[in-house]
């Protein structure tokens, strides 16, 4: 019994170290829209959002450099005529299923984001239930797709932002 307790204490310490190391390896909180996802005209495969970053922590395309988000700005800069209407974003495959949103613009202003397809299954559905409203209000506030990922909903956030970006690109084309 004492040995087991010792082992559990050691395990807790070990897990804390590993989780801490993992969290540390990520750097500062980053926007949901990652560098690779900002390429306009995202295909249905979503161009390598975190959904595909299975190769570990070391060299994911999203680390650090994406915080500036320079590539994301031009699409929302309203040089063009103020558009109105609904614009459908691309379907983005996340590891929990496809994400797709529709941007509703009124005279160039983003007024609403509706979800056409969302991730499914177990925890994903539950995550979506609190993450999607949060993402929507963030997007409307920012008036673009440069939104922060919701805690615990990384994949949903990424898919959401990427699809929204595609929708906005379509609107301003």
């Amino acid at each position: 019994m004492r040995k087991t307790t010792m082992a559990l204490v050691t395990t807790s310490a070990g897990l804390a170290v590993i989780i801490g190391a993992k969290a540390e390896s990520a750097g500062a909180p980053k926007p949901a829209l990652t560098a690779s996802a900002k390429q306009p005209g995202a295909s249905s495969h979503g161009g390598g959002a975190p959904a595909n970053s299975t190769t570990g922590s070391s060299g994911t395309p999203s680390s650090g450099s994406s915080t500036g988000g320079a590539g994301g700005q031009p699409s929302s800069s309203p040089k063009t005529v103020a558009v109105s209407g609904s614009f459908t974003g691309s379907v983005v495959d996340t590891r929990y299923g496809p994400m797709q949103v529709q941007a509703v613009l009124s005279a160039g202003k983003l007024t609403d984001v509706t979800v056409l397809q969302q991730t499914t299954g177990g925890h994903s559905s539950q995550i979506d239930s609190y993450a999607l409203p949060q993402l929507k209000s963030e997007a409307i506030k920012a008036q673009n797709a440069n939104i922060d990922a919701v805690s615990g909903a990384t994949y949903t956030s990424a898919g959401y932002a990427q699809s929204l970006q595609a929708a906005l690109d379509a609107a301003h084309r």
């Binding site: 019994m1 040995k3 087991t4 082992a7 559990l8 395990t11 897990l15 804390a16 590993i18 989780i19 993992k22 969290a23 390896s25 990520a26 750097g27 909180p29 980053k30 975190p50 970053s53 299975t54 190769t55 570990g56 922590s57 994911t60 999203s62 680390s63 590891r95 929990y96 299954g121 177990g122 925890h123 539950q126 995550i127 239930s129 609190y130 990922a149 805690s151 615990g152 909903a153 990384t154």
Partner: protein
């Protein structure tokens, strides 16, 4: 199978022994094998952690809820891995039974078992707390959501309940009060627990839902362990039992409440049973067929006959004293490393037995080579009437000239522990030069091992068979 593999592996044992110039019977190899086993078990842990590391994208750990969820995932992965290890340890793989030693494997299983149940519980609690924290719900409501609405989690909750039940019946305090059969059969529920848990690992386990490779590896590991269980716990014993047609030959009273059961069978020598080994016996008689019990051979099997000696302890052993000749017997084994091969053949031997531990010691006493003081047996008992098989031992002692010392009296008597370091030295002056075989109840064996160490016997020359399964 064990015959062939154990003999053919002898050269390997030789090479890996600490002192290559020794002719045979390499002391300490059992320990070497157990270290190898520990290494294999440990090697899986970083692999499991890597699974998580790889599937956790950087930046997804951003708040308390994320950390708690991550801890929940990690404990879940570790628990699932260790459950597999626990089953593999008990799969009666010949390498484990006859190299590492059944008792060592059982000890690891015991130590890991408690820990694994704790990890599985921690997994459930941490995941629920983590999810609740992330989504801002209260943990009670979250428990309902997770258990009832997540795919396959309800099944795994039943699995966890079974696992906890197994853990409870195995806890020392409870285990002592339960008949062996109850403990044994409750333990079989672990298979159900693993099966129930397996589905949710794929359905909601982030580390498997996304990667086909991980799914393949994970199910591959499960299939491998399941095959080992099927082959070594079911098919091999079944084949052997059918081929060797073992039956009870006769049941002979050996003293008050003690009987020896003799067996006949077809080509038993093929199985290569050795003195000091044990088998698991299943007697196909009314009320007995559904349980199997381990008993050591109490006579040297190489003399041509198998025999066990059973003391009536009032439980199922009582029924064994009333077996009829001709009763069919199914068996698993022979198993165990408590044999002559463990020792350094250049050295003299000291045997120490207590209680039921006399059975394998009696077989060794009969089979060990040499004469005179080459072999000395210390037979420990609280009362003279507990010296089971003593007349037989006297016969062997007379025939071979071996030393035979009954050590009778309570451990806490006026003269102190009869197996104290000083008294061991007095009885066996060259004790630290000998290989020591020790078998008896856990408390006695532990105390005796400590005294042996004090008197200067190196640990690698103390060969101990634990009698708790």
């Amino acid at each position: 199978m064990s015959t062939v593999s154990s003999y053919s592996a002898r050269p390997a044992r030789h090479r890996s022994g600490p002192t290559p110039q020794r002719p045979a019977g390499l002391p300490g190899t059992g320990r070497l094998w157990s270290r190898a086993l520990l290494l294999v078990i440990w090697a899986g842990v970083p692999a499991v952690l890597a699974l998580w590391w790889q599937n956790t994208i950087p930046g997804s750990l951003r708040g308390g809820g994320d950390y708690v969820t991550a801890a929940g995932r990690l404990t879940g992965l570790l628990a699932a891995y260790l459950l597999l290890v626990l089953v593999a340890l008990m799969a009666r793989v010949p390498w484990l039974e006859n190299r590492v030693g059944s008792d060592v494997v059982a000890r690891y299983h015991r130590a890991l078992g408690e820990y694994t149940v704790a990890l599985a519980l921690a997994h459930a609690v941490l995941i629920i707390l983590g999810y609740a924290w992330q989504s801002g719900t209260n943990p009670v409501a979250e428990t309902g959501t997770v258990v009832l609405h997540y795919p396959d989690v309800l099944l795994s909750a039943f699995g966890l309940a079974l696992l906890v039940l197994v853990g409870v019946v195995s806890a020392r305090a409870v285990r002592r009060k339960l008949p062996y059969e109850t403990w044994y059969h409750v333990h079989l529920l672990v298979y159900a627990a693993i099966a129930l848990a397996f589905a949710h690992e794929f359905a909601v386990g982030t580390d498997f839902s996304a990667s086909a490779r991980n799914r393949l590896l994970w199910s591959g590991a499960h299939i491998a362990v399941a095959s080992a269980v099927l082959v070594f716990r079911v098919l091999v014993p079944l084949r052997r039992s059918l081929r060797h047609q073992v039956r009870v030959a006769r049941v002979v009273a050996q003293g008050p409440g003690v009987v020896s059961i003799y067996f006949t069978g077809h080509a038993l020598d093929e199985l290569g049973a050795e003195a000091g080994q044990f088998l698991r016996w299943r007697f196909l008689a009314r009320g007995l067929w559904w349980q199997s019990h381990p008993y050591s051979l109490s006579a040297d099997p190489e003399l041509g006959q198998w025999r066990i000696t059973v003391k009536n302890l009032g439980d199922s052993s009582a029924a064994l004293t009333r077996l009829h000749p001709g009763t069919r017997v199914w068996f698993e084994g022979p198993y165990g490393t408590f044999t002559e091969r463990r020792r350094d053949q250049a050295r003299k031997v000291l045997l120490i037995a207590g209680g039921a531990g006399i059975t394998p010691i009696r077989a060794l006493y009969e089979s060990l080579p040499g004469a005179g003081t080459d072999v000395i047996l210390l037979y420990r008992a609280s009362h003279p009437e507990d010296l089971v098989l003593y007349p037989e031992l006297e016969d062997i002692a007379r025939l071979r000239g071996f030393g035979l010392y009954p050590v009778v009296g309570p451990r806490t008597g006026p003269r102190g522990d009869p197996l104290s370091a000083a008294r061991l030295r007095h009885s066996v002056p060259d004790i630290e030069q000998r290989d020591v075989y020790l078998c008896g109840p856990a408390g006695m064996a532990e105390a005796a091992e400590a005294q042996l160490r004090r008197v200067g016997v190196p640990r690698r020359r103390i060969h101990r068979e634990a009698f708790e399964f």
